[in-house]
Amino acid sequence: MKNSLGREIPDTIKGYYKEVKAFTGAYDNIGDVIKTQVRAKSLMPGKKKLLNSLEEAIKKTGLEDGMTISFHHHLRNGDYVVNMVMDKIASMGIKDIKIASSSLFPIHAPLIDHMKSGVVTGLYASYMSGPVAEAVSEGILENPIIMHTHGGRSRAIESGDIKIDVAFIASPSCDSYGNINGLYGESACGVLGYAISDAHYAEKVVAITDNLVAYPACPIEISQDYVDYIVVVDKIGDPRGIVSGTTRITKDPIGLKIAKTTAQLIEASGLLKDGFSFQTGAGGTSLAVAASVREIMKEKGIKGSFMSGGITGYMVDMLEEGLFDSILDVQCFDLRAIESLKNNKNHQPMSASMYGNPHNKGAVVNNLDVVILGATEIDTDFNVNVTTGSNGVIMGGSGGHSDTAAGAKLAIVVSQLFKGRLPLIADKVTTVSTPGETIDVLVTERGIAVNPRRKDLIERLKDSKIQLVSIEELKEIAERITGKPMEIERDERMVAAIEYRDGTIIDVVRKIKR
């Protein structure tokens, strides 16, 4: 069958945890929902949760062949926990495990061997890059992996679509009764937003820590009432891979030009006034947009309400300057963000569900005025690909892209018109991550294109200094310089299915022909 974006979706997906439902529209499945029930084992007073080893914990959880386990990705490319747990599971002879990890990074390459040996047979992730993503693209698993958005992952867990048997939670600080925070310890990562749904909805929860602290581990981010067992290990991660030292604004003149144009557009949109809410990523160009917006806000004395998403020191600066009232933080990107979370009362952690789940009673993304987004490709319908490279290999994923695009009043994609030789704009993107109906504007170094669906915005910009071009014109400008790329040949075999945030299938990734 074809979904509403014209993407060919198979009637069945091997190993999928539910029936295939094709994407029909970004806001079609909002309304009545039911949250799943969770079986839990209550604890007698006097019983202890602290165990002697990881192996003991795995045994006590009752983990068996065929079960689903989960991880969070706050330790990013410094994470030791996924590999540690999987090596132990493999050595205990357990097979056919499905991994629900909020994201996977190059450090998780040892998973490939566990896939080859049948220890790991399924994978769910919102973002993945590195050797595991490449191996999946080449078809290492018999069943396609399922990719989510950050909010969609929470939705899938809370609805019971993904039933987590055991959640293994990397815990930078933990006490002997299972209260967890990410603020302290050698592997501090700040917020633990992506692990909250896992803790609340997994049947068994194991906290893995290298920093056992006195009870209670305040300020508590994940509380004891959700945690079954605690295991102490030498190290849960490598701080160098967890947080980047400093995040820098781009020095590239093209990136700076795009940033400046974007800030002018935001100003002209009428949204940049007192109470302004704003989200931008940690990339160099995104930060440059923040810098340009910061200047305008200072100049005009505008006070914003909140910034959200993954947080960098740059946003902390804007908070501490008084340009924004608060930060709603789902993940800390650097040490400044972690420090701010410790010290600033108006720097508030949030769960991935609160951040972007379309099936709760209102996510933070719904309150966003403006979000700045990236793109690997965008097509003339404004559909965006951030999942696969133009060569068809998985190298990312939606993360919060689709969630913020759907929620924000103004979703702006910023990008160079071509990178290397690859043009940004295609007739059809290789993979749809985010539907075009939720993307409002594309800003490039050679012009701004507004989505024709946003007639109100086009009307408003008519009286401003902002010059608009059509996305088709931008595409032609680029192709005159780069030439038109040839299409990648693909195998019939599916290697990944992409779930939109509401759980419908927005696209699939097929194996590349060698």
Binding site: K419, G420, R421, L422, M486
Partner: protein, 87 residues
């Protein structure tokens, strides 16, 4: 024009192409191309090289190229430079 000795031009920086040329007396045109956009632009890159060779009236040459997403004019300029250095 004849290729007398091996020569090279270009770099491995993004958006550039590194080209080595070698004599290939009586053996025609031989192109070994590696590119980060081989699937999307491999044919086009080879076409640009062959056209450049035709314009310079070169019939025997071995080209070893490592492309990092260079545009056509870069490919042409790097190849011409390598050839000028080869005789």
């Amino acid at each position: 024009m004849v290729i007398d000795k091996p020569a090279r031009a270009g770099t491995l920086e993004s958006s550039d192409i590194y080209i080595m040329v070698q004599p290939n007396q009586g053996q025609g045109i031989e192109i070994q191309l590696d590119s980060i956009v081989l699937k999307q632009f491999g044919k086009q890159i080879e076409n640009v090289m062959r056209q450049t060779l035709k314009d310079l009236e070169i019939e025997d040459i071995k080209i070893i190229a490592n492309d990092r997403g260079a545009l056509d004019y870069t490919i042409r300029a790097r190849l011409e430079t390598a050839i000028n250095r080869a005789n």
